[in-house]
């Protein structure tokens, strides 16, 4: 089997400005944050980003990398509104396509199944069509229903974070919810999976039931070893959300000077630097 192990930098080297990128996870849960941080260190910009958004969308918006955001919501869960998203919405200059949450997965499903669209009731009658004037309805060929035709959300690349993966690109979630990570991968030309631990295939199957191996190697084009790679979002059961750090992130995001200081401290270096800056903060917090 092909060995797909690579680094965050290798993944980002395969991404280009102007691409449509889907990011897995949900809100502030199991986001591939080390890959997002690597994107921030790159020159890749003008992205169309498709996400059940959390700090992935927030950070990329704050860094001016997003031309078009496609989302159902952007939230930090315990902090309902993502502050960078809010600022970007109010500032303008980015195209925002807001869908019902269910429509988003339906568009990914259409892309994964190579269909131009899938019909749904969701969105009918609402202002979803106001942020996306190209949306059309379709008449049922079997009856009278006039349904919304959710267009396929085809992705150039998908980025997801899992608990365990093997070098071939089989990847496992050990938490309660798979979110839509498999669908993001299937809707994409190329899918990149980061994981807390890279283990032999046999160890994946020993670590959980077969159905926990959500991502199969035919989905995957790159595997990245990223311990604490979802930080500060949750990656249950390996770790929960770092609520204290998330609060610091949200507080800093509200003020340009505070955000600049936060970015200097945590985002100026590589992933190792990030993890050290976070570790130092945690130690300081315990000792205070």
């Amino acid at each position: 089997m092909a060995d797909k192990l690579m680094t965050e930098a290798d993944v980002v080297a395969r991404l280009e400005s102007g691409m449509t990128i889907g990011i897995g996870g949900w809100g502030s849960r199991r986001k591939p944050m080390s890959l997002v941080r690597a994107l921030l260190r790159s020159e890749v910009r003008d992205l169309t980003l498709v996400s059940y958004g959390g700090p992935d969308a927030g950070l990329l918006l704050a860094a001016g990398r997003v031309r078009h955001l496609v989302y159902g919501f952007v939230s930090l869960d315990s902090i309902p509104l993502e502050p960078h998203f809010r600022a970007a919405r109010e500032r303008g200059g980015v195209r925002f396509t807001e869908y019902d949450e269910g429509m988003l997965q339906w568009g990914l499903r259409a892309a994964a199944n190579r269909l131009p669209f899938l019909p749904t009731r969701a969105g009918l009658g609402s202002d979803v069509r106001r942020s996306n004037p190209d949306l059309r309805t379709v008449r049922s060929p079997y009856g009278e229903e006039e349904l919304l035709a959710m267009p396929a959300l085809r992705l150039d690349a998908a980025l997801v974070h899992m608990n365990r993966a093997d070098r071939a690109g089989n990847a496992q979630y050990l938490g309660a919810d798979p979110y839509f990570d498999d669908l993001f991968c299937q809707a994409a030309e190329r899918a990149y999976v980061s994981a807390e631990r890279i283990v032999p295939t046999a160890e994946l199957l020993a670590g959980g039931p077969p159905q926990s191996v959500l991502i199969q190697r035919w989905h995957t084009h790159g595997v990245v070893h990223a311990p604490r790679g979802a930080h500060f979002t949750s990656c249950e059961p390996d770790y929960g959300r770092d609520e204290e750090f998330q609060r610091a992130y949200a507080d800093a995001a509200g003020d340009p000077a505070a955000w600049a200081a936060f970015a200097r401290r945590h985002l100026a270096g590589d992933e190792r630097h990030y993890q050290q800056s976070v570790g130092a903060r945690l130690t300081a917090g315990t000792g205070a």
Binding site: G72, V74, R89, G102, S126, L147, D177, F180
Partner: protein, 262 residues
């Protein structure tokens, strides 16, 4: 007679938050074996109360990816689970119509259009909010109720800025497929209980909470409410309901921080 006296005795001690929680619970009355999806604290107390009393067949989630069994405190994890409900399955249960959600809109209008997305123009909002979330799909697929923590003309507006949850007028314009399963049930606020039994599905005042006058609700609503000839007082919690709320569902009294009398 004795029962009535006991209810009255307990009623005098119920707080506004408790009256609201019980009014929320009644939104799910008779729903049977469907998923009750309460958003935020007071509806959550209500849904758990409904299952513990009048509607034992309701399904409830733990707020993560599991279906929870039994009755448990709002600030604790459930002791027992009965199933798995990741987000992908929530869409299935939603689109199958086997769900009744109670959402908290930032704006709500006469025909039940609800806004969670943005204040002002969508393209250049004065205040950006969460986004559509599941409101468009929820409303056209299954029963929907709303909880409004602070009843005011800023929430109860003539026309919402962005239609996320679909109301009766918008569904009628969008056509029969949009209206087919639209089922707006009840609005509970800190002042009153309302429904959509007014003309053409307009919002109607059902009852006012103890100590609240009809005029107060009318003044706090930014459009003309449909009114019945007689507007009763919202029913008081029964002693059994009060005991469940205080001892089992919200023993640390989080509800009192959520709703305060005026």
């Amino acid at each position: 007679m004795t029962d009535v006296a006991a209810v009255d005795a307990a009623a005098g001690t119920a707080t506004l938050a408790e009256v609201c929680a019980v009014a929320c619970a009644r939104a799910w009355r008779g729903d049977g074996e469907i998923l009750a999806s309460p958003i935020t604290l007071i509806p959550s107390i209500g849904a758990r109360l409904a299952r513990a009393t009048t509607d034992p067949d309701l399904l409830l989630t733990d707020g993560e990816a599991s279906l929870a069994a039994g009755v448990w405190a709002v600030d604790a994890a459930p002791a027992r689970l009965e199933g798995w409900l990741p987000y992908r399955a929530v869409f299935d249960i939603c689109w199958a119509g086997r769900r009744h959600v109670m959402m908290g809109p930032v704006q709500l209008d006469r025909f039940g259009n609800a806004n969670l997305s943005a204040i002002g123009d969508f393209d250049r909002p004065q205040r950006a909010l969460l986004g559509m979330r599941g409101a468009p799909g929820n409303t056209v697929n299954h029963a929907t109720s709303y909880w409004v923590r602070r009843h005011s003309p800023r929430v109860f507006v003539e026309r919402v800025d962005v239609v996320c949850g679909v109301g009766y007028d918008r569904a009628a314009t969008a056509g029969p497929t949009a209206a087919e399963f639209l089922d707006l049930r009840r609005v509970v606020s800190d002042l009153a209980v309302l429904d959509f039994a007014g003309p053409d599905g307009a919002m109607r005042l059902v009852s006012t909470h103890p100590g609240v006058g009809v005029e107060q609700v009318v003044a706090a609503t930014g459009f003309d409410l449909a009114l019945a000839d007689q507007v009763p007082t919202t029913p008081q919690p029964t002693p059994a309901e009060l005991r469940l709320i205080r001892e089992v569902i919200d023993p640390r009294g989080l509800r009192e921080r959520e709703v305060r009398g005026r």
